[in-house]
């Protein structure tokens, strides 16, 4: 059987069997397509049906009511645009300042600016509501005491929502535009300088157009997220009667009687708008911007700027202070102080709130365990699915490719509260699948919601992986599954680990869908925090938040150490 004279044969491969085979690829492709359809299309369909159904049959009234709510629509767009402009403007500026200019402390600052990614906007919003509410806000109280002004800032307003949400979303454009700036061939800029352009002109004429795709991409990403925002406007908007789509949906569902069809109609409206934007982005950028960079290591020249660099560094520090240090410090302070006051005579510090949260508050451990379990499971499932779908998209010529590619991106355009509503309707009607009311429905919601991130990570990991590495395994006798297990998976691990960590942390923070799907047994940390907020128990809330942040950062630290080991190995 072996080639003549081949002396190395110890096994015998036997004659090649001529047989019909259903390739594992086909099974996987069909299975994944079916799974994605169930995960994404089914709840979407349920929402669409729910939006068009009122007691007594089909009706357009929910839609018309929603379209008539011009004020809320206007608020939503205003918050969306404002947040996007602030986040992309500041994020882009910081990216330029920290990636390309001789700003003092740029190394440390580059590490600090992305940190808000790991702090849920709910906490930032609550902290800022204590700092900047119109009368009782700590800032206003301090200034009233010192200067006698009645009210300096009012963050319980559209401006406050934009301020907090904008700060929270700065890391997205910062990272995407920064990657584009770093991945840029410096000779492009240099040739502009050689041909007579000033530094400013080179920036304007060469650099900025080159980072336009990343800018636009991150702008759409932020806008889509800001349109479906719930936690920030819940904290800063609802007390002032300022509603956006996310809080309107929440309120419609909480009302008695609940306006379920209207909530679904809102969701569908958001879905259509954001799906349109995502589609436009893809059409406009030919879907390049999301994938980080070429991977080529350029070292772009640092632009020498004069004294203004101190001002720019101060701006970056101001951002870090406003988005991270001040809110976290406020939470820690509130967790330790007896009650929120600026009167030093009344202030007393002890651990009673931690004691309450850790020993008395009945939800803490349950929520912690559920959050950890869900975080691990959701991140793992989303990454595994992402790798599988990415594999079909990148490696096969299957007809299902573009279907999987498109449909797995839909959740990006679906506010997670609407997704949760759809899931609720789907699984309450399928009692043979015992998912409704269990932790599984939360898992399904998280996995669906974070599927786009998993797929992006999976496909970009595979794009970096030469397909011949997999072919070589097949040619050495490995089946498709062994190839995936022994070659594809270990080699895409660094990208997947990074994606996993991000998804774990995002899952730990998820609130919008959890709040519709949880039961007392399946409550999660963010819901427990929100419960405390609704219960007005602000100090306990602060203590629980500090614990939540600690868990997040411990997880992050473990991950960073693991990654260092990986790099060293």
């Amino acid at each position: 059987m072996s080639a003549p004279g081949a002396p190395l044969a110890i096994g015998s491969s036997g004659p090649a069997h001529a047989r019909r085979t259903i390739a594992a690829e086909t099974v996987v492709t069909v299975g994944l397509s079916a799974l994605v359809t169930v995960l994404v299309m089914l709840p979407m369909l349920a929402v669409a049906i729910g939006a068009a159904t009122e007691t007594g049959g089909l009706s357009l009234r929910p839609f018309l009511t929603v379209l008539g709510a011009l004020r809320v629509i206007g608020n939503t767009v205003w918050v969306g645009v404002g947040t996007t402009v602030l986040a992309v403007g500041l994020g882009g500026l910081l990216a330029l300042v920290l990636a390309r200019m001789n700003t003092p402390g740029r190394g440390l600052l580059s590490q600090l600016v992305p940190l808000p990614l790991y702090i849920t906007p709910l906490l930032t919003a609550i902290a800022w509501s204590w700092l900047g509410s119109p009368r009782g806000g700590l800032i206003n109280l301090l200034f009233r005491q010192m200067l006698g002004v009645e009210s300096l800032v009012n963050l319980q307003s559209a401006g406050g929502i934009i301020f907090v949400a904008g700060l929270a979303y700065v890391p997205l454009p910062f990272l995407l535009i920064g990657a584009a700036l770093r991945g840029m061939d410096p000779s492009l800029e240099e040739s502009a300088r050689v041909h007579g352009a000033s530094m400013a002109a080179a920036l304007r004429l060469v650099t900025l157009p080159l980072v336009l795709p990343a800018t636009l991409g991150s702008a759409i990403l932020v806008f889509v997220q800001a349109m479906g925002l719930f936690s920030v406007p819940a904290v800063l908007g609802m007390p002032g009667g300022f509603y956006v789509a996310g809080t309107e949906i929440y309120r419609l569902l909480n009302n008695f009687p609940p306006r379920v069809s209207q909530a679904a109609a809102w969701g569908l409206l958001l879905l259509v708008v954001t799906a349109g934007l995502v589609w436009a982005q893809n059409a406009l950028l030919n879907r390049r911007s999301y994938v980080t960079v070429t991977g080529k290591a350029f070292r772009p020249r640092t632009l020498e700027i004069g004294g203004i660099r101190y001002a720019l560094a101060a701006l970056a520090w101001l951002y870090v202070a406003a988005a991270v240090l001040l809110p976290v410090a406020t939470l820690v302070w509130a967790a330790l102080v007896n009650f929120i006051t600026i009167d030093p005579k009344l202030m007393a510090f002890d651990l009673q709130h931690f004691r309450y949260v850790l020993l008395e508050y009945p939800k803490t451990y349950l929520a912690m365990r559920n959050s950890l379990v869900l975080g691990v499971a959701a991140a793992t499932c989303a990454c595994a699915l992402g790798l599988g779908i990415g594999w079909v998209i990148v490696r096969t010529r299957s007809a299902a490719r573009s279907y999987l590619d498109q449909v797995s991106m839909f959740p990006l355009a679906m506010p997670s509260m609407v997704l949760a509503l759809g899931l609720l309707w789907v699984y309450v009607r399928t009692p043979m699948l015992p998912i409704y009311g269990t932790i599984w429905i939360l898992l399904i919601a998280y996995v669906t919601h974070y599927l786009p991130f998993g797929v992006r990570a999976g496909s970009s990991a595979l794009r970096q992986l030469h397909r011949e590495l997999e072919d070589a395994a097949r040619m050495t006798g490995a089946s498709w599954t062994k190839t995936i297990r022994w070659v594809t998976f270990p080699l895409s691990r660094p990208t997947l680990v990074a994606a996993w960590t991000l998804l774990f942390i995002l899952s730990m923070q998820e609130i919008s869908s959890s709040i519709l799907l949880y039961t007392s047994r399946t409550t999660v940390l963010s819901v427990a925090v929100f419960d405390l907020w609704e219960a007005g128990n602000v100090n306990a809330l602060a203590a629980l938040s500090v614990i939540q942040l600690a868990i997040t950062f411990v997880a992050l630290a473990i991950f960073i150490r693991a990654r260092h080991r990986e790099v060293l190995a």
Binding site: A16, H17, L469, D471
Partner: protein
């Protein structure tokens, strides 16, 4: 080498994706122990053909038969997965798994078949010693140089029992010097082990040095096949000739010479007449075609042509290349390129006389 019948045969193979038809009906027969090279420029379908044989591409029609049993048959819906075909492959990118050691790479074929490390060791060590990498067994594969990775890929391909080794441009990522060294090593290895090989390259020298038989491909079809000497000596078409570096290819009117079998007279533009060999003559009368000859086969004399003949020309450009000089010579409407020893006086504008031995001048078809 062709004794023993067809060990592997590819019949009417077509591969297409979408609207692109990369391979448009290719027949290849390989005998046991034979080294067959698919040669052609990029995009000619040679790699696709190889990958279809490997099972890494699914053809749209045709058959692939190994030892009488089809591993692919579009008509009967047979498609054996790559790992069940019993081939091995060396890739252009080497495809060495960076997360494994050298020995783990080479022993992978044993591992996937559930053969223990200890049991596989002799074969792995043998394969590594054959490529002179025994000392590197426990190195992480990612720390090897390009040439070393290439050898690991080779060792991996021959470590486990294999029917055919498929090689996809294995040397193209190496620098020139290393390429020549590896070429020699590869040829030596095959001489010792005698495995059957299908080799894909766009480098004619590699093809000549390694192959028993060369198949020249163009646009998804086979253009010509034969031994290296046949191909080199008698390219059939203008495409093959130019791909093999016959720089001088001139349109001509061809007329068979009565009495001299396999010889023809070629009338070029400007009424210049050359005598040429026509190994693929089929007895047809005068046709429009071309003749081709290599620059090294052009003989040059200074001055106007003497009584013994030769074609008058003027040097339009001369380039000094070291051992050789390259002369561009214009004779009326035609221009040719000649390689000869550098000679004083053959500067631009100089009058020369040139000729090509009929044995070295070939009639080419379209």
């Amino acid at each position: 080498m062709s004794s023993g019948g067809d060990f592997l045969s590819v019949e009417r193979l077509e591969v297409g994706y979408g609207t692109v038809r990369a391979v448009r009906g290719v027949d290849v027969a390989v005998s046991k122990g034979e080294h067959v090279t698919l040669l052609g420029p990029s995009g000619c379908g040679k790699t696709t053909t190889l990958r279809a044989i490997a099972g890494l591409e699914t053809p749209s029609s045709g058959r692939i038969v190994v030892e009488g049993a089809p591993v692919f048959d579009a008509a009967r819906g047979v498609n054996t997965p790559p790992e069940k075909r019993g081939f091995s492959m060396v890739f252009q990118s080497y495809a060495i798994w960076p997360h494994m050691t050298v020995a783990e790479n080479v022993g992978f074929g044993f591992r996937v078949r559930g053969i223990g490390r200890a049991q596989a060791r002799p074969a792995v060590e043998r394969a590594l010693s054959l490529v002179a990498l025994s000392d590197f067994a426990d190195r992480p594969a990612s720390q090897l140089s390009g040439g070393q990775q290439q050898r690991v890929a080779l060792a991996r391909a021959i470590a486990y029992d294999t029917k055919v080794v498929l090689l996809d441009e294995p040397l193209s990522n190496l620098d020139a010097q290393l390429r020549i060294a590896m070429r020699t090593e590869l040829s030596e290895l095959r001489r010792r082990l005698g495995f059957t090989a299908i080799y894909v390259t766009h480098d004619q020298e590699e093809a000549f040095a390694l192959s028993d038989r060369i198949i020249v491909m163009r646009a998804g079809l086979i253009e010509q096949q034969g031994t290296p000497i046949e191909i080199h000596h008698a390219p059939r078409t203008r495409f093959v000739a130019s791909f093999l570096g016959m720089t001088n290819i001139l349109d001509a009117e061809i007329r068979a010479l009565a009495g001299a079998k396999g010889m023809a007279e070629a009338r070029l533009a400007g009424d210049i007449v050359l005598r040429a060999r026509d190994p693929h003559a089929n007895g047809a009368a005068a046709t429009a075609g071309a003749v081709g000859f290599r620059p090294v086969d052009v003989r040059i004399e200074a001055g106007v042509p003497g009584p013994q003949g030769g074609i008058a020309g003027i040097v339009t450009r001369s380039l000094f290349l070291g051992d050789l000089a390259q002369y561009h010579i214009r004779s009326g409407p035609i221009e040719i390129c000649a390689h000869d020893r550098p000679r004083a006086g053959l500067t631009e504008g100089a009058q020369v006389s040139w000729h090509v031995d009929p044995e070295n001048c070939l009639v080419l078809r379209e």
